[in-house]
Symmetry: C2
Subunit: 365 residues, 2 copies
Amino acid sequence: MSAGAKGADQLLADFTARKPVALARAISIVENHRPGFDRLLAALHGRTGRARRIGITGPPGAGKSTIATQLIRAFRSRDLTVGVIAVDPTSTFTGGALLGDRIRMESVALDSGVYIRSLATRGALGGLTATTREVADVLDAYGFDRILIETVGVGQSELEVARTADSCVVVLVPESGDAIQTLKAGLMEIADVFVVNKADRPGADRLKMELKVMLQLRSSRLRGSRDAARGLHSAGLADSHALGASAGDAPADVASRWLPPVLTTVAAEGTGIPDVLGALDSHHEYLSDSGQLAERRRARLRARVADVVDLKVRSRLWGDAGTEAWVDTQLAALESGETTPFDVADALLSRSARLLTGEADDLHR
Amino acid sequence: MSAGAKGADQLLADFTARKPVALARAISIVENHRPGFDRLLAALHGRTGRARRIGITGPPGAGKSTIATQLIRAFRSRDLTVGVIAVDPTSTFTGGALLGDRIRMESVALDSGVYIRSLATRGALGGLTATTREVADVLDAYGFDRILIETVGVGQSELEVARTADSCVVVLVPESGDAIQTLKAGLMEIADVFVVNKADRPGADRLKMELKVMLQLRSSRLRGSRDAARGLHSAGLADSHALGASAGDAPADVASRWLPPVLTTVAAEGTGIPDVLGALDSHHEYLSDSGQLAERRRARLRARVADVVDLKVRSRLWGDAGTEAWVDTQLAALESGETTPFDVADALLSRSARLLTGEADDLHR
């Protein structure tokens, strides 16, 4: 116990001294929820909130890694340090090369101002989104100026991951399909900046136009319902990231509507990258001026609390040997249909108050 | 309230009378966790446990839907009814046609003894695996003899879904890669039957041989450690589905080792399908004789209890207006770093005993 605490102190000291090996170890501890991960995250909490978090998402093959690499280069040329989280919720079969590996093959990976980390779902106790938030907090606390969060595709879990960022870049290519599909896949809701990559291919202009039309339609529909929505929207977890959800509360109401720009790039040649950087800066300025940056960060803190509550409930309840033993006493009645999982869950919760509230823990301390 | 209860009674009566419209409505209520879904599932619980649940998984393009269609035909020719759950955790972008749609295009879809349902993640409160278990329970209670649970790929969430079945068929093609990749992707652990589909293509024999060798190696390694494992393995949730995890407890120890057969098919032509059916029957017999069928079903009941506990904790805690309001009072201290999400979560749980145990609910009844 004291050896563990000493190791933790040393790790924290090395981390504070910005030793890369301490960063890698801290992330491993957090990613795999090794003993002490909670104390570590708690110790780092006060140092978070400085980095800009940028999500990059889009269908496979859209060129997200290429754009990420170009953004990293651009940030580095401004002397900004960059932490990259490459999130791949699929397995070896579906993905091909891991995202992180693609970026690692580029020259940026040799730069000490860049740190790249791949996250798979394997471990991810408490879910990939929670783990991504935690690892981003570690990178933030370490002092990176920008954190890029890249996903391999646009499945549900990947959209959730992208939502943890301050600004989200959605990368499409003419082959991705039309704007309607983008809408259906939920990308309209999370995009702060659209990038049509491989814009030298046929169909790029049409996709760009379609996206612009859809975004305009969406924006005017939201504007129409804004007065109705004002005051109705609590700053709930679910809605807090949606465009304009907290428009009524924003200090600068005029600036409180962001229309995502639709940019074109040929990322492999670097074409259009300065525009993406410019759009990210504008979006950050907009977030800051409208009060939404603070709101997104508050939403992230609320979500962190909910993550930790989930984790504590599970570990307190199922970590107690008495819980499984008690459920096993109910199996016969469950099998015969005499009782139901709902009744058993009710009974379990009502007998577990001391476990859930942590009172039982306190006795052991 | 009484209107809702009356509607629920009518639905249950129609469901019991096996009206397809009641089945569809029951699944929608359960899938989307609409009001009353818990009472409905509780009412159906006593009718579950009769259907054989068969998972079909494998990488995209392996021909899972074709094999599913052929299995449905074969079951129907034996006069067995079939419910199909097509699980697609990805969005419109990544998948192409939805699994369910592919099967629907076949003639089997017009047969009243077949019911096909696609599940996406959108809704899936409480997670895709929990929702799949719930929808399978509804199909089971309705009286289907076989339930096929098909996934679109082999990501982590899809493997979890496949684990909810009694028997799991893993479909590969020569192009899927070698047996090592299968092992890495976690497919060795969940496969009860391997099918090498498109077996008329080059590489099929080699893949089959590789799989057999890997399975033999794995089996003899497990056999070696069986004596050590005997008595050590509690019937924990995580391990209960693993090959031989409960070998020591099985009534017929001789039969307690199942070596997954490696079959070859050309599903598009129906070649090899009878072998797959035969293997499924053998596996069911093995599960039944060895006591593992009962054990898998107990594990499923335990998992259902855990699902419901998760759900109740979330809805009781976050469904209470006081919770979010209280968290909001902590935001300033969280932002300044004065307190951490861990401290706030601790304090929240310790003040929420009456919510968590359901005592607060009881007052409102």
